[in-house]
C-alpha cells in the first residue's frame, strides 16, 4: 500500500466528516462530496482535502471528484440507496480497489454483500456491542458470585 491514499468520502455528516478529518490529519488526500454545502462546516479547520458540492448519484459529480484515481471510497450518506448506488458505481464501473458503504438496514446488507459490495451496518454493529455487553456483564456477575 502507498503511504498516502486518495480517498473519496460521499456524505459529510457526522460519520463522513469524522473520517475525513482523521484521514486528512494522517496525511491522506481526501475528497468529500456532499449535496449540501452547509455540511462542510463539519470539517475541521486543518482539513487539507477537497470539497465537492453536488449530488453523488450524478456520474458527472463523481467524475469531478476523480473517482478513477481513488484508492478508497466510502459512502456515508444517510440514505442507504444512495450509498449502495454510488458504492456499486465506484466498485463495478470505476474499479476502485476498496469500497465501503454504510447501510442502516441489515436486510439490504445481505444482498449487497452478495453483489460484492462491502457494507457496514451500524444497527448490526451496535446490536453486537450490546449483546457482547450483556454476555460479559453476565460473566462478571458469575465471577462475583
Amino acid at each position: 500500500m502507498k503511504n498516502s491514499l486518495y480517498i473519496i468520502i460521499v456524505g459529510c455528516g457526522r460519520l463522513g466528516s469524522y473520517l475525513a478529518n482523521q484521514l486528512s490529519r494522517v496525511g491522506h488526500s481526501v475528497v468529500v462530496i456532499d449535496a449540501d454545502e452547509q455540511t462542510f462546516h463539519n470539517l475541521s479547520p486543518d482539513f487539507s482535502g477537497f470539497r465537492v458540492e453536488g449530488d453523488a448519484t450524478r456520474i458527472a459529480v463523481l467524475k469531478e471528484a476523480k473517482l478513477k484515481q481513488a484508492d478508497v471510497f466510502f459512502a456515508t450518506t444517510h440514505w442507504d440507496n444512495v450509498n449502495l448506488m454510488v458504492a456499486q458505481i465506484a466498485r463495478k464501473l470505476f474499479h476502485v480497489p476498496h469500497v465501503l458503504a454504510r447501510v442502516y438496514d441489515p436486510h439490504r446488507e445481505e444482498m449487497y454483500n452478495q453483489l460484492g459490495i462491502e457494507t457496514i451496518c451500524p444497527t448490526s454493529v451496535a446490536a453486537e456491542m450490546f449483546l457482547l455487553a450483556v454476555a460479559s456483564g453476565r460473566a462478571e456477575e458469575g465471577k462475583e458470585k
Binding site: 448519484t57 450524478r58 440507496n81 444512495v82 449502495l84 448506488m85 436486510h107 439490504r108 444482498m111 453483489l115
Partner: protein
C-alpha cells in the same frame, strides 16, 4: 401478467389505468399514505403503502409472483435499488428503471438493470419530428429497435428523380413503399423516386440519421 409499479403522480395513475385495461394485474407501491388512499379509490389495482426498496414491502406486494417491475420514482438511487432487489431477491424476470439523469441510464445498464431516460426519449422525438418538416411520420416498432419513417420528397430532396437502384442506402435500411398520388407502390430497383412522393422507410435507429440525410439532404 402481474406488474409492479413503484412511483407516484400522474404517470403511475395513467400507466396503471392502461395496464389494467389490457388485463394486467397491477400492484402500485407508493410511500405517501394519502396518495395511496386516493389511488386505491380511483383504480382497480392493489395499492401497497411503503418503501419500494424495502424487501418486506416488495414481499407484501407479491413480488415473487410478478413478471415485471417498473421503478419510476423521481430518485435514481431508489429506482436502481428497487430493480436490483426485485431481480436478485425476488427473481422478477423483467425489471425496468427510470433514469431521471439521462447519464444514469447507461450506468444502470452496466450494473445489470434495464433502464430508460424520458429526457432521452422526448429529446429524440423532438429532434426526429420537429426539426424535419418533411419527415411526416415516425413509428418505432420492436420496442424501438426499428424505425418506420415516412418522408415527403420535396424539390430539395437529393434523391428526387433518381432510380431506387441509384440511391445508396446503408445496409440495414429499406424503402418499403412509395406513395404517389395516394397510390402505394412497392418499389423495385428500376422505379424512379419523384418529387412529391412519400416514401416509407424501414431503418434501424443507429443509421436513422444517415437515412434521413439521404432522402432530405443536409439541412437544418
Amino acid at each position: 401478467m402481474k406488474v409492479l409499479i413503484v412511483g407516484s403522480g400522474k404517470t403511475v395513475y395513467f400507466l396503471c389505468k392502461s395496464f389494467t385495461a389490457k388485463g394486467y394485474e397491477v400492484v402500485i407501491i407508493n410511500r405517501d399514505h394519502q396518495e395511496c388512499v386516493q389511488l386505491a379509490r380511483d383504480l382497480s389495482a392493489t395499492v401497497v403503502c411503503g418503501d419500494g426498496s424495502d424487501a418486506d414491502t416488495l414481499e407484501d406486494a407479491g413480488a415473487m409472483y410478478a413478471e415485471a417491475m417498473l421503478a419510476i420514482t423521481p430518485n435514481d438511487q431508489d429506482n436502481l435499488i428497487i430493480c436490483q432487489l426485485a431481480a436478485i431477491q425476488f427473481c422478477v424476470p423483467r425489471a425496468l428503471a427510470l433514469a431521471n439523469d439521462p447519464e444514469n441510464a447507461e450506468v444502470f445498464q452496466e450494473l445489470g438493470i434495464s433502464a430508460f431516460s424520458t429526457t432521452h426519449i422526448i429529446g429524440n422525438l423532438i429532434e426526429q419530428r420537429a426539426s424535419l418538416e418533411q419527415v411526416i411520420n415516425l413509428l418505432p416498432v420492436g420496442e424501438g429497435r426499428v424505425n418506420v419513417t415516412e418522408i415527403h420528397l420535396d424539390e430539395a430532396s437529393p434523391v428526387a428523380g433518381s432510380a431506387l437502384s441509384e440511391v445508396t442506402l446503408p445496409k440495414s435500411a429499406l424503402v418499403a413503399v412509395v406513395i404517389r398520388e395516394n397510390k402505394p407502390i412497392i418499389p423495385r430497383g428500376d422505379d424512379r423516386l419523384l418529387e412529391g412522393d412519400r416514401v416509407v422507410i424501414i431503418s434501424l435507429p443507429e443509421n436513422h440519421g444517415q437515412v434521413l440525410k439521404i432522402f432530405t439532404g443536409n439541412r437544418k
